[in-house]
């Protein structure tokens, strides 16, 4: 019989937690977690203690109280008799409005500037370089205030539009540019106008279906249907037809000078325009660089191969380069959308009543609920950012390289 000696028993010593590589990383993680928990606990505890010392409680009841202040730009019905919660909602809608408009314009500007910066035309390329470097290297707040100041100082006040005044309306008295904003005609939806809207929406669906059909046809037979002209016709004709069939239910309400200001029409306030333009121009400069980087990331061989196949430069860009570039462009683009949305909280600089100005400004000031208000505001921006990045991630998944 062979003698079997027991393998030496492993005894666990505390020092192994640090010196034994099997346990070390675990030890570090546990310690870090504990420290983090202590930190959070301390922060909360400190807040609670200080609130108690100041004699304040933690209560969201203020959202149901009467707000008492007016908001100039409201997308929903609101008056000073509404609640603080409603005021916050109005502010949130204003934030969403400027963020939505900003994201669209910034994307358009960014794509144009990014493509043009690669132009072989020296002057165009340099102009775009000046735009990009000028806007992304100066703080956004300065641009917002500068644009607002220019719009306020250089445009006539409504008083100048009176008889004998120095200013007059444009485009056949339908458009007024004043130092309080731009007044444009506003559509008035009369009875039966829903038919026109429905027809218009249906024609949008039609365009989408037609494009699919055209693509399928091309893939199956190689026959190319005229997509652009048909889409254009589908876009306008049915709606216009419906408009006349229903007897013109949609009319325009033109701005008219009355009293101190223009009455009627749609009032685009200077604060909205200045904030929108500044956000778009600023973020557009960043997007331009992202687009440029994306296009440059597609190897030159792809373009050459496309040319060799006889595709024209336009189609090369649309069918070969951009689809590949999108994979590089979209992820950083999401960050830019998030930046734009969060940067819109600088709105108070020009008196635009966004969520930061209503909930995070006046409401906090009138009720003294700093902590609650800031937490709500933080939660709102968090949810909004997560929603935007969620949607964009879905889009990203749809365009990324599909490996089969």
């Amino acid at each position: 019989m062979t003698t079997m000696s027991d393998p030496p028993r492993e005894s666990f010593r505390l020092s192994q937690l640090i010196y034994d590589t099997r346990y070390r990383s675990l030890t570090i993680q546990v310690v870090a977690t504990i420290l983090l928990a202590v930190m959070i606990f301390w922060l909360i505890n400190n807040t609670v203690q200080n609130l108690a010392a100041l004699g304040k409680d933690f209560d969201f009841g203020f959202l149901g109280q009467r707000a008492g202040y007016d908001i100039n730009q409201r997308l929903l019905e609101y008056s000073s008799a509404s609640t603080h919660g409603k005021a916050a909602l109005i502010g949130i809608l204003n934030t969403l409005l400027v963020a939505f408009l900003g994201c669209i314009l910034a994307t358009v500007l960014g794509v144009i500037a990014g493509v043009l910066r690669l132009s072989s035309n020296w002057v165009v390329a340099r102009l775009m370089a000046v735009y990009v470097e000028g806007f992304r290297n100066v703080p956004l707040l300065l641009w917002i205030i500068a644009i607002f100041a220019v719009m306020t100082e250089s445009t006539p006040s409504p008083r100048d539009f009176r008889e004998g005044g120095s200013a007059s309306m444009m485009l056949g008295d339908t458009l007024a540019v004043t130092n309080r904003g731009v007044y444009v005609p506003m559509p008035v939806w009369g009875p039966g106008s829903w038919v026109v809207v429905v027809v218009f929406l249906l024609s949008l669906v039609g365009i989408f279906a037609y494009r699919r059909l055209a693509r399928k046809r091309q893939e199956a037979t190689g026959q190319i249907l005229p997509v652009f002209r048909v889409s254009l016709a589908l876009f306008f004709l049915p709606a216009i037809l419906a408009y006349f069939v229903m007897g013109g239910p949609v009319s325009l309400n033109y701005p008219e000078l009355g009293g101190f200001n223009f009455d009627g029409g749609l009032h685009l306030r200077n604060s909205l325009i200045a904030l929108w333009l500044a956000l778009s121009l600023y973020t557009g400069a960043f997007i331009a660089e992202i687009v440029r980087g994306g296009i440059l990331s597609v190897s030159k061989g792809q373009t050459e191969a496309s040319f060799a196949l006889g595709l024209r430069p336009n189609r090369t860009m649309n069918l070969v380069v951009l689809p590949q570039a999108m994979r590089v462009i979209v992820p950083p683009l999401i960050s830019q959308y998030l930046n734009l949305t969060k940067n819109s909280s600088l709105a108070i600089a020009v008196g635009y009543m966004d969520a930061r100005s209503t909930l995070g400004g006046i409401t906090i000031n009138q009720t003294g609920r700093e902590l609650e208000g800031m937490l709500l505001l933080g939660a709102f921006y968090l949810v909004l950012s997560l929603a935007i990045s969620g949607v964009m991630n879905i889009y990203n998944a749809s365009i990324k390289l599909k490996e089969r």
Binding site: K56, N72, T367
Partner: protein, 338 residues
Amino acid sequence: MTKKIILGALAVAGLSAGAAAAATLDDVKARGNLNCGVTTGLTGFAAPDANGVWEGFDVGVCRAVAAAVFGDPMAVEFTPTTGQTRFTALSSGEIDMLARNTTWTFTRDVDLKFEFTGVNYYDGQGFMVPKALGVSSAKDLDGATVCIQTGTTTELNLADYFRANNISYEPVPIETNAEAQQQYLANACDVYTTDASGLAATRATFENPGDHVVLPEIISKEPLGPLVRHGDSEWGDIVRWTLNALIVAEELGVTSANIDELVAGTNNPEINRLLGTEGELGPMLGLETDWAVNAIKAGGNYGELFEKNIGENTPIGLSRGLNAQWTDGGLLYAPPFR
């Protein structure tokens, strides 16, 4: 072991943060200067002069408190605050007192946990319009664009007033008085509304003050006064009685010019008690006996402060009106020093 030390340190930090609310006087004394919150700039009330030294009516109150505590009116660190930042600055302890045209209201006193220590200016909200508009009453302002400082009581009064009179308006929210002035002068708003004293002070800085009128309507009561945090009554007493000392000094005829004579002793026991030659009023507050002498010397009594900064002989040109002594038909009525 290390963890215990950290926990201990955290506990101490937490405790000291909690205790910081009390004994403002000790903190101020230890620091060697008073932190006073003022406006970001309103001529006559609080604005830096050409040399960067803050001066004005509200600044005078801060300097009087500093003089009462330290004997030195210059031992003040001024923190400019906007309508939106002022209360946070005070409740967080960044400033020891706030003297910034702040209206004494129920909610600010009770719900926001502040302590108003008196009224240094009885004001009311008014409207200023360019003369060229030809408006003579606030009721003619239907449809007007109104510039308004956000985070103020005027914002709420404005909404209430227009609602009560069933007229519409377009509010343009503005952060500071300087921005409001710029917007108003650019005609971006037809009307500027704030406390009538603020309107007068703002108009005084215009190139052509005569082109603008303040409408006759005063739509609210705006008792403006210095305030401190709730929970430290000793510190509140010091601010309150410094302000009262300035007011009562005017009533008793004690000025910065004759105070040195009066300190030698007078036949009026109340003056003697005020100036510390009789009784122990100063030490009761935790200050020196000559606290009120220093406070009055800092910028003069209430009347002197008023005349020097915002009175009829200044560009702002405010008359005493409600802010006269009760003996002259005004509302200033300091409790007796006894």
